[in-house]
Symmetry: D2
């Protein structure tokens, strides 16, 4: 009998951590995951007390994080759904212990110092080497590197939607970046985390829409690094939607040369051939948040202007799935040599 | 020229306090109200910084509460949109100073000790006399007392909807209370206050419905005292709706004797003749939350069972208007001899 | 190799029909289902054109209903997600052809003529015998009959939530029905169907709550027949919630004799021992819609009044899952001897 | 005593028409408006049967449109909240009768044939002269012309938000239009009208966001004509928000020369000095939909990029108020010499 892989989740009670726990609990190739609380709780309580949604098939104990448990349980893969400060602290030790790590925070996503500064990441101290080794966990772009990685930096939710939306153009070098790349993105509230704040109060969000982090959103660096764009060329704006989950990004770009809808569609289809979790829509048909919510798909559609150069690309995904936990499982599948979609359909 | 009445609001930044400030600012017979913050803020900032909704017609400074300002500004009417602990502290002093007080908290609503205990109100200490004098500010039932009152206890939002829904039956003594009075009530989230909590987090409320405070909601006492019912006869249950504001109460009662729809409708219409803010619906037509939201109306409809005895009464109101700030202004109008609807249409 | 069961869905484009198609497509023991459109469409288009949500794993053609296809494809189980008029027309022929039928309409749910009249069901004509044979498909109550049935009448969504909520009391004969049984139920909008109407218009539903079908909802008969109650004892009221899916029913009943929370909890736990899809909550803890939405669970909680007799029972389920498509698959599993939860977790 | 102005509304039962009726009923200088139904109803029913929201101060009869009633009632101002086909039919006759007309449809907004074609407006036939005379009713830009106009074309809701957001830049000639003008706009569902359609079904809209009318929205022409821009320079995209009302437009532009936040803010403040219904936010502060919903304000904020050239402008308004009915009343006030805000605060 195949030995089941042992995983653990640090931060299993946040929205992304819980989504991840849920996926790992149902994944056929895994032993039940070890679930660490975000808080340094003194006593263990089961995850289904925090989330009665999953009650009914046995309690899932939550325990405070401890390296002893990591060792004792022989953890193969450690997922971190923790703030980036915590990830900075845990990853070097995990690396020393030869664990595979998939970190959902922003700690290891950015190679460029300027971008790390925008994200307000702390100094690397002795971890510059680890950063170099870490792989940006977007399997559609870096599948081979992910497969070999020890540390995978799971991408940001907004960043995933923008990068997947524009990568076929950027990589084919048909994008006229100097004409400006406008990314107008909208996200559901779970992206803002589980902490109750004025910003997440129902009365402040319902019947509302607001833009935030204008000219300074910390996901910008991921977009620049992954697409090879300059800071001055990209405007990336985010809005808070009155829905629990889902992201829709509307991207406005210009092609270097005139094209036609069929060619653009072909470019996208070719680029994502073999990418199970990207659904390219027919030219002129656009995805909606509802289509991909609660799935690991990133849906991409586009429309070409009559001038044959200006292009609107719309991409949608679920911020907790392809934007966080689903992508983390996808990365794990790649790292372990499982089919990419195992446990994700 | 008529001297304008000077009002003040303590707690003007909460949802009910802000709604009240808004109403008072537009009320034609009043000088601009003095607005006290809920916090002991060190520096004054204008209300329209907290609520940009009302920007555009001059800043409205917020200041920390102070009896000196009350004296200096010659406040005629003091509104308290403060927690009941604070109201307990402020009302005796306000009474000493001969202010008219309209208190939106539960501090002075309940005469019965058992009900006060359910509400977890502190001991009265020396204030038993004040409590006796205070009037339950539901003008549809106590208009004359309100007109003469110095201290008005503004009713709870749920309590208002239930009491107005059942008063015509209870007062006409046609209600068979021994057969049970079931009040199944649903409220929007602003009723839970402005404080961000797990309960008010958008992701926890949206796409959801939950019952709470079952067999123990602190508004129960108001319903019992105002309708003359026994605790054992009434079941009052509340639910949190995924909407910002509005209450719908569905009440299930039995009549002592068989009746018919026309008679029931006449009973309601007669009872509320002269009550500007109650709209009685034709038999069999039921109000919806949308109809009365952002108004000071309480809408009431009913349906009679084929057995001619069981009755469903539905009442709707806006928890921040007729359930709080609007009713407070209505009470003020009655206390000052203004038409009841002044500043409320 | 095990021969895969062949299913078909008539009415696969409605909300319940689509949910059913989705479940059947993922069910491990079934061949891909034949999907009949609701409309007599002339040309076939794939289901993922109507619902791009499921795009990505091959088109699923929709075809107009035809007995020839039923024969040719050797359909074993026919699901009807059609209006009850259509079910009346199709079931006798399906019975003649020895198909197993699971009908999601109300056509075959009610044995009592009075209840059938309230539902406005047409005359049975020659089908009285078929009605007698049909089994009310609530496996928690009728598992053995379902296992042997040819025609299963899949219960109504509201009815499921009420019947499961009260069955342990009714069957144990501890319910004082003469004291009245009040069922105050609230449902999301998908329960009202896919047809655009004034009632389902976003602007009419959002920020709103409304009661409807007071003293006359057509699910009442199911509740009466299944719980053995008299029409005069039950009040069943429904409300339209501003959410896409989910039902919460708040039920107010009286016990014949005093009890205590532990005994009531035990009664429920014993009754539902072995019922995979009912989750009984600890005494005093109540389910919320979020917990069971998008699952096949019916969650049940309760609170006992200080008088030890009055009881509030809250039950929640997803109207499209346990209230329709999920329950239909559960019934199919029982009919075919599969584990009840196959394809439902 | 001042003779009260007599108004009439054709199409008083649509969302904009109802909002308009509501405003006119409360406007102090007007006689109660004559309310024409959208349908050629045979019998009159009161507006508060259609909208119980306004019940309580007398019924407001709805009657089918008739020129006889127009003549008999001596209508001074006729509002058309009708489809543009109907407006085409009614305006010439109204002009002949010397009525002042405020048309909320798109029929008379566009002077340019190419833009009229995009809007799919019918041929003018003999009405080219009338079109020339008609004034685009955006008082912030054309107050003097509106004051003298007989026919006012009330602007589109999206168009109002974009034009007001960009006019200060365009009129000061500081906008580098050749660098592209991206308008990413989001609207609540009431903008899609009262007709129940798949697009407005609650289940299709809730928890969702979708882009529509990409590269072809009919409001584009208004933006081009009013801002003096070329079709090729503007991309205008619209999205359907899961909220009942409100528009937020995020606009991405480039300045011809470097500037700073203070100068941009001053430009906006100067431009809108004297414009009661535009609220300019301090540099870096952005409006949200909640702030202006249910008011006639258009809120405008902006943020300047570090490169001092790229600018994001955010404008918000209520699509039924400043985007339709409120603006219509504002236009009427200007036409009649009343203060602009009469009946709108």
């Amino acid at each position: 009998m195949e030995k089941k892989i042992q995983t653990a989740v640090a931060g299993a009670t946040g929205y992304a951590g819980f989504e991840l726990a849920r996926l790992l609990l149902k994944h056929g190739r895994l032993a039940p995951p070890v679930l660490f609380t975000r808080e340094d709780a003194e006593k263990a309580e089961p995850l289904d007390s925090v989330y009665p949604h999953i009650a009914g098939n046995g309690g899932h104990p939550l325990v405070p994080f401890s390296w002893d448990i990591v060792a004792e349980k022989k953890i193969d893969v450690l997922f971190l759904a923790t703030p980036h400060e915590k990830s900075f602290e845990l990853v070097p030790e995990a690396a020393k212990r030869r664990l595979k790590v998939i970190d959902l925070s922003g700690a290891w996503r950015l190679q460029d110092d300027a971008n790390r500064a925008v994200y307000k990441l702390p100094n690397l101290n002795g971890s510059a080497g680890l950063l170099k080794q870490s792989v940006y966990g977007l399997p559609e772009l870096h599948k081979e590197d992910v497969a070999k990685a020890q540390i995978v930096a799971n991408p940001g939710c907004y960043a995933t939607s923008v990068i997947l939306g524009l990568a076929p153009l950027a990589k084919a070098n048909v994008l006229d970046a100097s004409a400006g790349v406008v990314c107008d993105c909208k996200s559901g509230v779970s992206g803002a985390g589980k902490e109750p704040t004025k910003k997440t109060h129902f009365v402040e969000v319902a019947d509302n829409l607001s833009a935030y982090s204008v000219f300074g959103h910390r996901h910008t660096g991921e977009i620049l690094e992954q697409l090879g764009l300059k800071a001055g060329d990209v405007v990336f704006t985010t809005h808070l939607l009155p829905i629990p989950r889902g992201i829709l990004s509307t991207m406005y770009v210009k092609l270097k040369n005139e094209s036609d809808a069929a060619s653009v569609e072909k470019l996208y289809r070719d680029f994502y051939k073999g990418s199970h979790f990207v659904r390219v829509f027919a030219a002129g048909e656009l995805p909606q948040i509802q289509y991909s919510v609660r799935t690991n798909y990133c849906d991409i559609g586009f429309a070409l202007a009559p001038d044959k150069k200006r292009l609107i690309v719309v991409s949608c995904l679920d911020n907790l799935m392809k934007g966080a936990a689903g992508q983390a499982v996808q990365n794990m599948n790649v790292m372990l040599g499982f089919p990419e979609w195992e446990g994700l359909n």
